[in-house]
């Protein structure tokens, strides 16, 4: 099982660039790129921050595949 996410999709829905979204949750653009490519698994704290920022439930943002 791989932890995947719909971050890119929800980010686009909110009209946010990787840089803007990164700044709003306190991480770099490279970290957002890495999460969107499923390379880096964010901490629970960061995952919750992201879900809050995108107004989406965490289980909709992150899922196991």
């Amino acid at each position: 099982m791989v932890l995947k996410n719909n971050l890119k999709e929800f980010r686009h829905k909110n009209n946010l660039t990787q840089d803007d979204f990164g700044k709003s949750v306190g991480v770099s653009r490279q970290t957002i790129i890495s999460i969107e490519r499923y390379r880096y698994k964010p901490s629970l704290e960061l995952a919750i921050k992201m879900a809050k920022e995108l107004n989406v439930k965490i289980e909709k943002l992150f899922y196991f595949d």
Binding site: K23, G26, S28, Q30, T31, S34, R39, Y40, S43
Partner: protein
């Protein structure tokens, strides 16, 4: 291949280690058989090393700040990459201690002040370069 500010700052460290090896290591290599490497000789060599390091890093980071004006954010991914690379560095330091002892015991030319200094600097340079390259690899793949 676009490199981020963090990746370039790691490359600056790698280049410094390589330049250090090319410029200053010949002196330590030549003096590895010297049993009483004079303190004046050492100070004479350490002073240009310090001047070179200060000049190199201040110039390199000044250019880096000019190119990348935006402030870098240090986040949990950086912490993870740093902890992984420093862990490798730490393991290599431990391993290099055994290499250091082994080489001292088996190599008579190294059993003197000059030899010990040469061996320590070589091992430190090796560990530093490997750690930085691994850090760079993690930044590119994570």
């Amino acid at each position: 291949m676009a490199l981020s500010k963090k990746e370039i700052s790691i490359l600056i460290e790698v280049v410094f280690s390589i330049l250090f090896a090319l410029i200053f290591m010949p002196f330590f290599y030549e003096n590895q058989g010297d049993n009483l490497i004079s303190i004046n000789n050492l100070i004479g060599k350490i002073t240009p090393i310090i001047i070179f390091a200060v000049l190199y890093f201040s110039m390199a980071y000044a250019v880096l700040e000019l190119i990348f004006k935006a402030k870098t954010t240090v986040d949990e991914r950086d912490d993870m990459i740093n902890s992984k690379s420093y862990k490798l560095g730490y393991l290599l330091y431990e391993l290099s201690l055994f290499v250091f002892i082994g080489m001292l015991l088996t190599n008579s030319i190294l059993q003197n002040t000059g030899g010990i200094i040469f061996l320590i600097i070589s091992l430190l340079l090796f560990v530093s370069i490997v750690k930085s390259i691994y850090q760079l690899y993690l930044y590119r793949t994570f």
